[in-house]
Symmetry: C2
Subunit: 329 residues, 2 copies
C-alpha cells in the first residue's frame, strides 16, 4: 500500500513515517493489515532529520518537495494507488496569525485542494487530518465536550476548524473516508523552537535540560492540555486503523491529553532533573502569545477517543522521562 | 450612505431594501443614523418583484446583475463609499446538496471573495451575513445553546458554518465589522416553491390558502424552528444597527424563532382558514428532504439575541395572519 504524509519532513510526520516503517504492515480503515510498500513524504523542505536506515527503508520512502498548494505536486503525491493520506502539514499558529494570506493558502486552500484530489482519484482514499486545541476559544467550560461549540480566537484555529468541516462533509458525501484527530499541544518536541504560539510548551523543558535558559511567555497557572510525542504518534496510527463506521456520523475526535500548567511542568522538571534545570526557566508574559494560548481549552472530554482505543500520558514526569530516554518507549 | 444587498432580487433581500427605503435613515454599527442614499441590489437575475415606487425610490436603487464569484462585479458592488454590506445571497440547501461545486463556489468562495473585497477597500465596512439552522445537525440537545457545537449534515450547512468562521476571524482581525445572524426557517414565503429543503414550510400554508394542494415531505411531528418574514426583516435591520462591541468577541447570533411542527402549522391553518384549506395538505415523506430538515434543531436558546433587541413571532396563527394581511404589519 502507498501512503502520503504531508508535513512529512516535520517532527510528527517523520515520527509517523518511522513508526509505519517499523510496523511494516498497517490496517487502514478497519481493513486487514497490508504491507507498507511506499511512503511519500511531502513537505516544503527536505527533512532535517528522518531516522531512515538507507539499506532497508530507502526503497520504501519517496520525498516530494514543494508547495502543497501546487496542483501538479498534489497530482504526483496522490494517485490511484494511494490508500492513505495523513495530512499533517500546516502553517503553525504564530505564523498564521502573523501572515494571514499564507495561513489561508496552506491551511485552507491547500487542504481543500488535497481533499478535491482525493475525491478526484475516485477510490475514496482514507484521509487522516490533524486538528488542534486552537479550534476552541472564548468562554469555555472547564472541560470541553464533544458537543462544545468551536469558536477559535486565532486565524490558525479558524483555518483548522474550517478544514474539520470540509473533512466531515467530504466524508458524509462519500468523497473520502475522513477522520479528524484534534491533538493537544505536543510536548516535548525535540529540536529548535518554532513559530507556534505553543512553542514554549516544549522549550521550557527542552532548553533547561540542554543547559540553556528558557522564557515562559504565559502565566505559571495558565492551563495547558498536552500530549507527548509517543502518545501522539500511537494515536495517529490508531486514527489510520479505525474503521469509518466506528466514528458514526461525525468524524472529529478530541484525542486524550494531560491537563497541566507551566508551573506544574517546571516542578516536574525539578523532580526529574533538579533545581538547577528548573531554575533556568524565567516567566515573562507575552500578551500576544498569552492571548492565543489562553484561548485554548484547559482540558476536554476524551472519553469517546479512549473508547475507540486512543491513549494518553500518565503524567508529565513520564513525558520528561520519555524525552530523556526515547529508546525506552 | 451606500448599502449593498447581495441576493437583492430574492424575497428577503427585496423586503430588506423596501424596509430601508421606508426608513430613509439608518443607524449602522452603533453610529448615528444617516440617510440611505444608495442601495445596490446584486443578484444573479433581475428582481421578479421589488415593490419600488419609480418616482421616489428609483434614484436610490441600483441593480447589478451577475455572478457573485466574479471579481469585477464585486469591485463594482463594494467601493470606498460602501458603509454596509448585507450578504444574503446563497445557493439554497437542496441545490447545494445536489450541485456540490456550485454551492462551494457561491456559498464559500464568493463569500470569501466578498469579505476580501470589504477588507481591501480599507475602511472596515459593516458586513451582515445570514446563516441558518442548517449549521446544526446530528444528536442535538432539545434546545441548542450558544455554546452548542456546529456539526452540519448538509453541504449547505457546512458552507454556512465555514462562512461564519470566516466572518468571525475577519472581524477579530479588524478587516471588517461583521455580524452573523442565524435565521430560523422563514415561513411563510410568498411566491413559488424553491430548491431549499425547507421550501415546504411555506408551501403547506401558502398553497392551500391559494386553493392549491400541497405535499408535506416530513413527518407531521418533526420539529421546525421558524421565523416570519416580518420578524426576519426587522431582525436584519437590528443586525445592521447593532454596535460591534455589543457582540463582545463572538459575532454569531441565534435569532429568535418559533418552535412548531408541520401538524401544528396545519392546525393553525385550519383555525385561520378552515377545514377545506387544511384538507389540501397531504403528508408524504421524502427521505432526502427529511434527512436534511430532520438534522436541524427543534429550537435554540435565543436569549442573547432577545437581550440585544431582536424579536420573534407570537405564534403561528399570527404568522398566517401576517401572510394574509401584509398591510397590517
Amino acid at each position: 500500500m502507498k501512503i502520503l504524509i504531508t508535513g512529512g519532513a516535520g517532527f510528527l510526520g517523520a515520527r509517523l513515517a518511522r513508526a509505519l516503517l517499523d510496523c511494516g504492515r498497517l490496517s487502514v480503515n478497519g481493513r486487514p493489515a497490508e504491507p507498507v510498500e511506499q511512503i511519500v513524504l511531502l513537505d516544503v523542505a527536505a527533512p532535517a532529520v528522518l531516522p531512515v536506515q538507507p539499506a532497508t527503508d530507502q526503497p520504501r520512502i519517496v520525498h516530494l518537495t514543494g508547495d502543497l498548494s501546487e496542483a501538479a505536486l498534489l497530482a504526483r503525491a496522490i494517485d490511484a494507488d494511494t490508500t492513505l493520506v495523513c495530512h499533517l502539514a500546516a502553517v503553525v499558529s504564530g505564523q498564521a496569525e502573523a501572515d494571514f494570506p499564507l495561513g489561508m493558502r496552506i491551511n485552507l486552500d491547500a487542504t481543500r485542494a488535497l481533499l478535491d484530489r482525493c475525491h478526484a482519484v475516485g477510490h475514496r482514499p482514507t484521509v487522516l487530518f490533524t486538528s488542534s486545541v486552537a479550534v476552541f476559544g472564548g468562554a469555555l467550560p472547564p472541560v470541553v465536550g464533544d458537543d462544545t461549540a468551536v469558536s477559535p480566537r486565532s486565524s490558525y484555529g479558524t483555518q483548522k476548524a474550517i478544514a474539520e468541516l470540509l473533512l466531515a462533509d467530504y466524508t458524509r458525501r462519500g468523497f473520502i473516508d475522513g477522520r479528524v484527530l484534534r491533538l493537544p499541544t505536543i510536548s516535548i518536541r525535540p529540536g529548535r523552537p518554532n513559530a507556534a504560539a505553543s512553542s514554549f510548551a516544549s522549550g521550557i523543558i527542552r532548553e533547561p535540560l540542554a543547559g540553556l535558559p528558557a522564557v515562559c511567555p504565559v502565566a505559571p497557572d495558565l492551563p495547558l492540555w498536552l500530549s507527548s510525542p509517543d502518545a501522539a504518534t500511537r494515536n495517529l496510527l490508531r486514527g489510520c486503523a479505525l474503521a469509518q463506521h466506528a466514528l458514526e456520523d461525525w468524524p472529529v475526535l478530541n484525542l486524550p491529553g494531560l491537563s497541566t500548567t507551566a508551573a506544574a511542568m517546571v516542578e516536574a522538571l525539578r523532580r526529574v532533573a533538579g533545581d538547577e534545570a528548573a531554575g533556568r526557566v524565567r516567566f515573562e508574559r507575552d500578551p500576544q502569545i498569552e492571548a492565543i494560548v489562553g484561548s485554548w481549552p484547559a482540558a476536554w472530554d476524551d472519553a469517546r477517543a479512549r473508547r475507540l482505543g486512543f491513549v494518553g500520558d500518565r503524567d508529565f514526569d513520564a513525558v520528561i522521562m520519555q524525552f530523556l530516554h526515547p529508546e525506552m518507549h
